[in-house]
Symmetry: C2
Subunit: 462 residues, 2 copies
């Protein structure tokens, strides 16, 4: 019985899968400040046109450029593991498989989109990319990708993370990326905040505003902005994970998956694994597909499907998504990548359609699950990934109660070696759970009360 | 042209290769305090008899137990990469390949021996292992292996590393290992040192003494000591690296390797890759085989082949090896894994025979090489590994000057994500080179002046 299924280079998927082509209810368009749909042209100061075309594409399959594949080969196809030791520890009849995305040089799934984004920008004549980063996985991945493709990279890092995670900065510096604490004095947005709040720890919302401003105000016109989650083309690039998983499962004759699980902050690693299975579900397959979020930031499980901005400063278009309101500031849990007020429109629309079954799990249960995983499967996972593992353990225990030999597949989105401070606090008994109070949620939701409403009609029955 | 060659589980080597069987001059035995050869029985309080048998074995091939293979499958066979981006950056006609040992859950080649050591101990009825660690790769690997096999693990970590690398401790704790700063008050050796020098930063020599004492004084008799380098059985377990590399090179029709390179502190990752090629050289192949050390700790390039203790406190037997003297304290370079006064007897004997061509490289050149590697190949390597990469770049440049399409193979022994402090200092311009002065070397060599001398006779011509 193989415990690790590998693919050769020539078995890598050569196309990405675009869920937009199969969604029963078509995706609703992003809206501008006037409430009218945004045209592709309006996005062109921010993104290169070739990526904007992918963002709005309705094609089901999109070719992966040969030169992108050549870089992905550095670590892809990623292995599919069978979690035999975890199964044994749980005494479950379930079979648990995971895609190991922690083996990329940046340590997570993020380079799956950072590489093509950098490549398409380069094709378009762009010389420099700006971005923001909170937890740090995305900033590292973009610096890595820009190094391999010879682009400049500038990263606005939320000040509190910048100060607390000095080694993330060193990682990016090693790849030649420039990392600056946000808010900074380099942008108008940053200066305005610093004037009002000189001691602010910063926020992802502010950092996004600065990164976008730095891109669109570059007088050479050769700088663009890059985002590591939420947008359609990001979800698209990540589907290589799920497409590989299908080939690997087929290779060992595992033809029916019962449960698919991924953690979801902006949605990209979840979508990457799950969307090819969502397609199966749309076409009749019986699969539970579970995106998992923290109880402290319950975007999918408690927030409405609404039109909202992607950032606090309201610089981005309105996106149709589950959102806690662009003002929402999540409690300081250690899974920084899951501390986002919104959710990818494609994931959100699939929730509206009833295709997904979101779960929220408190962080202490997640760390307990991560430690069981480390002591059985051997890998120290990222705090974000621990949410997926906690859900897997719940599902495996349910299978045990029901006496069913279910097949569970999840995404091991990244390792936790750069985020051991959270483990340290857990061992010291200093971690607590946060449950978002109703009144606090009502307060942050007030910010979206006056905005346009997307349709919540659904066509399918799942 | 593939850039990453993978093997399936069923292609993994099923035997380790023992160089002792092929060395032209037989390995000279370890000696006790009386100058007489140590018998296997005398080692039995320290190691289990099944590993002692491996330590003294003259068998060429030793079967890898099926249960050990099942654990190694978690990350093995490791991929073989072609360094196309580095080749391009150097403009060299050489083809550069590397084994990527950084993908194990502990981040280095160390689990290749930690897993079988833990397994053989468990087979022998042992419940607990003790060890020491300096840089931290070994302690992490043993904690990982003990977690998977259900053994207790206690690690004496040199105090200065314990204080400077708190996250290494968290890694081990996550795997359930107990980590304690050395010198500690838990052993007689530790207490004696603390009494004399309460503020000592500790040393690997002291930590070895404590770990050995903790093992041999356990009244239950169910504790043994485990070492991550130097010894014959450790080199044996690591040969899976080179044996896999041969299969992978054959798979792509690369049948002749010209240069094999690995960094060497105690010798284990170098030996792991190189010994199967040393066998080829003994049988007539024309290969340059290069172990690389720091100029600050020039064991192979400047120190004599002598009988010496493995630790400062002289608790271990005398081993025939290149040694700077057991009193030697290397300068504080950042490649902690290469700061050892001795060298594996098998590697040392191969040097005496003329089978190897050791090099010493200063640390600033190594960091420069590591940064070029990160920006071309994408992987942030361990400071130890940077010595191998610096040598590869020298050899690739030589091939360019000579206009020769050489095939160079090296061992990427580990990633540097837990050791970014060194990179940070490099970027800040705070790193310096150390060249060991003659008089300092003479001083530390005085410690071995009165000890027995091994024969330096050689039988072969290479």
């Amino acid at each position: 019985m193989p415990v690790r299924i590998v693919l050769n280079e020539d078995e890598i998927p050569r196309q990405w899968y675009n869920l937009a082509a199969d969604l029963p209810t078509p995706l609703q368009p992003p809206l501008g400040p006037d409430g009218n749909p945004i045209s592709p042209d309006m996005l062109s100061p921010v993104f290169p046109m070739n990526l904007i075309e992918q963002e709005v594409s309705q094609e089901r399959w999109i070719d992966i450029p040969e030169e992108v594949l050549e870089i992905l080969y550095r670590w892809r196809p990623s292995p599919l593991h069978r979690a035999v030791y975890l199964e044994k520890a749980l005494g479950t009849p379930a079979k648990i498989y995971y895609k190991n995305e922690s083996l990329s040089p940046a340590g997570s799934h993020k380079p799956n989109t950072a590489v093509p984004q950098a490549w398409y920008n380069k094709q378009f004549g762009i010389k420099k990319l700006t971005t923001e980063t909170g937890a740090g996985q995305w900033g590292s991945a973009l610096a890595f990708s820009c190094a391999l493709l010879g682009l400049e990279c500038k990263i606005f890092m939320v000040r509190i993370s910048f100060d607390q995670k000095p080694f993330r900065k060193v990682m990016r510096q090693t790849w030649g990326g420039k990392c600056i604490a946000s808010p900074s004095s380099e942008t108008q947005a940053g200066r305005a905040i610093l004037e009002k709040m000189p001691d602010t720890p910063g926020s992802l919302g502010i950092a996004i505003s600065e990164a976008v401003e730095a891109a669109v105000t570059d007088p050479t016109g050769q700088t663009r902005y890059s985002l590591g989650s939420v947008l359609n083309h990001v979800m698209l690039h990540q589907t290589i994970i799920g497409l590989e998983a299908k080939k690997q499962l087929a290779k060992i004759g595992e033809n029916k998956v019962d449960v698919v699980i991924g953690c979801a902050g902006g949605g990209s690693n979840f979508a990457g694994l799950a969307f090819p299975f969502v397609a199966d579900k749309i076409h009749g397959a019986n699969i539970d597909i579970i995106p998992v979020e923290p109880t402290s930031c319950p975007t999918m499980t408690r927030a409405p499907f609404a039109y909202d901005h992607g950032d606090t400063a309201k610089m981005t278009p309105l996106l149709p998504m589950h959102s806690l309101g662009h003002d929402f500031i999540p409690p300081p849990i250690h899974a920084g990548g899951l501390r986002y007020h919104g959710m990818a429109p494609l994931v959100s629309q699939a929730i509206v359609e009833g295709l997904l079954s979101p779960q929220a799990i408190p962080q202490v249960e997640c760390y307990e699950s991560a430690i069981l995983f480390a002591r059985t499967e051997g890998i120290i996972i990222a705090p974000e990934t621990s949410h997926a593992v906690a859900s897997v353990i719940r599902e495996a225990n349910k299978a045990k109660e029901e006496g069913k030999e279910k097949v569970i597949l999840f995404n091991l989105s990244g390792h936790g070696l750069m985020d051991l401070a959270g483990y340290e606090k857990f061992f010291a008994g200093q971690l607590q759970d946060y449950h978002l109070p109703e009144e606090e949620m009502a307060k942050s939701l007030a910010a979206i009360a006056g905005l346009p409403k997307p349709s919540t009609q659904k066509t399918g029955k799942w």
